[in-house]
């Protein structure tokens, strides 16, 4: 016994180090395979408020540019509205029924890491919930992961764990959108069969398979493509429409039918 106590006293720093290391590795490795921890994230009260204060100061600097961007988007939406006979306008109309849209601002953005998260200034009190989609006027941005009272963290599409259903706009073939962490301007679209004809510059939009994003939200254009290792699927590099380094205003999209869809899917699966 004496020896054990002596041992502990002698190596107490080492034991403390190992203990803390295991704690931090536990949290880290858990996030590699699954989601961001609901405890270690920047939507908490103190971090959220510090980011919000800093945003309050810096947001004035490019107010003019942001306003211009929003007016341009309004212009485009008006154009859609006044030419209602367009097929896109009809689509927009039906979209309005199943999806609700809330606006928000990005208060923290990162794109240099392997797993990037964005913090926005809307939270539980604005009825933001996990698994809602975040889009910008130009394209998609990510999916809400953790929510606190006034803030939420968003898993950016620039995240190794990100996996979003996307399709080719003109042929409707769908695959999944992933990121290989090499460049913040491009993401990868995988699982498109080899038979599908591709042209550089084709538009990629969100697919209808996900209950998170509405269908046909723009993502980007094909930058280059080649066959994967098994030679049966394309690996497509997609140049994003969004400038991921400079995002201020976002829309939080929520699908009012989502719960019903998930319930139905679970029921079907349990029947098998």
């Amino acid at each position: 016994m004496q020896q054990i106590i002596n041992f502990i006293l002698r190596y107490k720093n080492f034991i403390l180090y190992i203990f803390l290391m295991i704690v931090s590795l536990g949290f880290t490795i858990q996030s590699h395979s699954y989601h961001q921890s609901s405890f270690f994230n920047s939507s908490s009260w103190i971090t959220g408020n510090i980011y919000e204060t800093s945003y309050g100061i810096t947001s004035y600097f490019d107010l003019e540019k942001e306003n211009k961007k929003l007016v341009e988007e309004n212009e485009w939406l008006r154009h859609q509205l006044f030419n209602k006979k367009d097929s896109i306008a009809v689509q927009l109309d039906s979209v309005l029924m199943t999806y609700t849209v809330t606006s928000g601002q990005v208060i923290k953005n990162s794109y240099a890491n392997q797993r990037n998260y964005i913090t926005i200034n809307k939270g539980r009190k604005d009825s933001v919930k996990p698994d809602m989609g975040i889009i910008t006027p130009e394209g998609i941005l990510g999916i809400v992961e953790n929510v606190s009272k006034k803030h939420a963290t968003v898993q950016s599409i620039l995240n190794e764990n990100s996996n979003i259903n996307a399709k080719l706009k003109n042929t409707n073939n769908f695959g999944s959108l992933t990121w290989n962490a090499s460049n913040y301007n491009t993401v990868q679209l995988v699982d498109i069969p080899r038979l599908v004809p591709l042209v550089i510059g084709d538009t990629i939009v969100t697919g209808g398979m996900s209950s998170i994003f509405p269908e046909n939200v723009p993502i980007g254009t094909i930058k280059k493509f080649d066959l994967n290792d098994s030679k049966s699927f394309w690996n497509i590099e997609v140049a994003l429409f969004n400038d991921m380094t400079n995002i201020k205003n976002v829309y939080i999209v929520s699908n009012t039918d989502r719960e019903e869809i998930i319930e139905l899917q679970e029921e079907t699966e349990s029947n098998d």
Binding site: S24, S42, I50, R115, Y117
Partner: protein, 169 residues
């Protein structure tokens, strides 16, 4: 005197966390270089202090940075590693000198201070990016990030170091 150094460390802790998350995490120089200046806390921390408390404090420091930057506990893991290894690094850089009561960081030569800081940064970044990227097939990416970001961190730490140098007594 003790309460004074305690006070200084608390202020330093808070300021370094804020500077790190509000300024340097947003730098994105060349798209990926975000220097980690908070390592200066470990460089400046008094030598003759309780080691367990030092490791605990470093854990807190790393964890606060993690909270802000959504990096899980990677910063915490790499910070406690250099906190634990600091005495070994100091013995390597300063020789037996540092065991004496009268030893002060400010009295060491410029080369020694530089080596000490550089070693802390390189070890920290090695642990950090190995954990972040977490795959040996990306060894080159890890090395590229460690080298470039260590250089950036070192330059900024040296600048900060000369701006707010430890008083020579």
């Amino acid at each position: 005197m003790i309460s004074n150094s305690y006070f200084i460390n608390v202020i330093r802790f808070a300021l370094l966390v804020l500077v790190q998350v509000l300024v340097f995490n947003r730098l994105n120089f060349f798209g990926f270089i975000n220097p980690m200046v908070y390592i200066l806390f470990l460089y400046w921390y008094p030598i003759k202090q309780n080691r367990a408390a030092f490791i605990g404090l470093s854990f807190l420091l790393g964890l606060s940075i993690d909270f802000f930057s959504d990096t899980m506990a990677i910063n915490a893991a790499s910070t406690i590693t250099i906190a634990y290894l600091r005495p070994a690094i100091m013995r390597f850089v300063f020789g037996v000198n540092y065991e004496f009561q009268s030893f002060k960081l400010g009295n060491a030569t410029r080369v020694q201070q530089f080596t000490f800081l550089a070693l802390l940064i390189v070890v920290h970044h090695l642990v950090f990016f190995t954990l972040e990227i977490f795959s040996f097939s990306n060894l080159l990416l890890i090395l590229k990030k460690v080298v470039s970001i260590s250089a950036a961190t070192l330059v900024l730490c040296l600048l900060f170091g000369s701006l707010f140098s430890v008083r020579k007594e």
